[in-house]
């Protein structure tokens, strides 16, 4: 008990800077994912499995697979990103940590941003890195690989950021997963369309500047606005 700071002292105590709270939150989320190694493995495996369902369901014919490759990889990345979102605030809501987060004197924007970044690093980035392998298995033309990686690199953070809003809205509800998907999937359709279109166009030699510009604009916008929306949604859900 000797170290207990008395409330009187406390007013002189250095306040925590927003940055160090941001950092602590980011580190905590990454730590949790590391401890549950599954969080790292599962989005990847899910992505791999879903992609390979398509040849099984549709056809193993290379020509046909080529034509659906871009769309399939994008749709699977979308689903993998969506499903891994479930963990974003759920555990925190259930054990009460979310209330603690909301009661922190730091701007919620940065706390939410930290959690979103952690989520993307855990589930989005690995998917981006694995995508070329799967693209190969679906016979995507080789000249489209880099486009695939770059569009996913721009697009998956948007999925995390948008998804975060959906999870925040539904975190208090009994049934998730699906309701989340139903809310978020339609929001992410533009990203999907642009991304898949860019990849498909890449093998046709069409110029891609426009696609990248659009994706970049969407990313910039969602980086600045989505965490605000998530924060507001969290406040509503905890009510």
């Amino acid at each position: 008990m000797t170290t207990h700071p008395s409330p009187q002292q406390s007013n002189q105590r250095p306040q925590v800077s927003t940055f160090s709270a941001f950092q602590a939150t980011l580190r905590r989320d990454l730590l949790i994912a590391l401890k549950r190694r599954n969080d790292l493995l599962n989005p990847l495996m899910f992505f791999l499995i879903v992609v390979s369902l398509f040849p099984l369901g549709v056809s193993s014919d290379p020509v046909q697979l080529t034509s659906i490759a871009a769309g399939t990889v994008w749709v699977s990345a979308l689903l993998a990103s969506m499903l891994s979102l479930d963990n974003l605030y759920r555990a925190d809501y259930e054990d009460g940590s979310l209330e603690q987060l909301l009661l922190s004197p730091q701007p919620l924007y940065f706390m939410v941003l930290a959690k979103n970044i952690a989520h993307w690093l855990i589930s989005g980035l690995p998917v981006v890195l694995l995508a070329p392998l799967l693209a190969y298995m679906l016979y995507l033309p080789a000249d489209a690989y880099w486009t695939l990686v770059f569009t996913l690199l721009l697009g998956t953070p948007v999925l995390s950021l948008f998804g975060s809003i959906g999870v925040a809205l539904t975190v208090g509800l009994g049934s998730r997963g699906l309701i989340l998907a139903v809310i978020v999937l339609p929001l992410t359709v533009p990203v999907l369309i642009i991304g898949a279109k860019a990849v498909a166009d890449a093998s046709l030699g069409v110029s891609l500047g426009m696609h990248y510009a659009l994706l970049g604009a969407i990313l910039a916008m969602s980086l600045s606005l989505a965490p605000l929306a998530s924060a507001a949604a969290l406040k509503i859900s905890v009510n």
Partner: protein
């Protein structure tokens, strides 16, 4: 029978027995592996179609065929775990899953590298390849489940159950995949068996390699299981004695 069973169930007994046999097995594997590898690399004649890629055969086929043994092994261990609650069986099952995943992955990788020169592609959705990929997924599922469950006891039972369900499904998956593929056969002829000449100079080294890789599988399984035994029995006197004796 019962006596034997409960004796076999004793991790200590297994540990001591394997200590005795392990050196011999290692020597045997080293000899077989050396002979097999040298023979395969140096002496096997060039294939008239595949050229020297037939060297890959001697790695790929043993690894692929032994990887198929993994699920039955885990399911067997699972039944023993659930029915007789024998701890050793679960330790074997736990060690077998990652090793099986390694074998499957190496079979996939070597197959892919072989496919590139022979079929002109690293990957096709051929029946055998696809079912191998699915087996890989199943194994990863078991590993993921094991690491997701905190309590070792619950993890043991859950994985035992999943392995059994998986083992029942492996043949179903295999047949359905074969059926799927034979019905819409892709353009390339992907039959693996047509290696042209099939003389003893081809299959004797293969046999040796199969024996060598098999003993390699057994050895790595034993090594991993022994570690698992040490960890789980770390409170018991005999393990503490080993710990005290060993210099590291």
């Amino acid at each position: 029978m019962w006596l034997w069973f409960s004796k076999l169930g004793s991790p200590k007994w297994f540990y001591e027995l394997s200590s005795k046999w392990l050196p011999w097995l290692v020597v045997f594997m080293a000899v077989a592996m050396t002979v097999g590898l040298l023979w395969a690399l140096l002496f096997v004649p060039e294939d008239y179609q595949q050229g020297f890629t037939n060297r890959i055969f001697y790695v790929h086929v043993p690894v692929a065929s032994i990887s198929l043994a993994c699920f039955p092994l885990m399911a067997g261990a699972g039944v023993i775990t659930l029915v007789w609650k024998m701890k050793l069986a679960d330790m074997v099952a736990k060690s077998a899953a990652p090793i099986g995943a390694w074998f499957t992955a190496v079979a996939l990788i070597t197959g892919a590298i072989w496919g590139q020169p022979t079929w002109g592609t690293w990957w096709v959705w051929d029946a055998r390849l696809t079912s191998m990929l699915l087996q890989f997924f199943l194994l990863i599922g078991v590993i993921a489940l094991r690491s997701a469950i905190e309590s070792p006891d619950a993890a043991a039972k859950a994985c035992a159950l999943l392995s059994i369900v998986g083992a029942i499904n492996v043949p179903i998956i295999k047949y359905s995949v074969e059926w799927w593929n034979t019905l819409h056969q892709p353009a390339t002829d992907l039959t693996m068996n047509e290696n042209g000449a099939n003389g003893p100079e081809i299959w004797v080294p293969l046999l040796i390699m199969i024996v060598a890789v098999y003993s390699f599988f057994v050895i790595s399984l034993i090594l991993a299981t022994r570690n698992e035994i040490l960890v789980r029995e770390r409170r018991s006197q005999w393990v503490m004695d080993i710990v005290a004796r060993e210099k590291v």
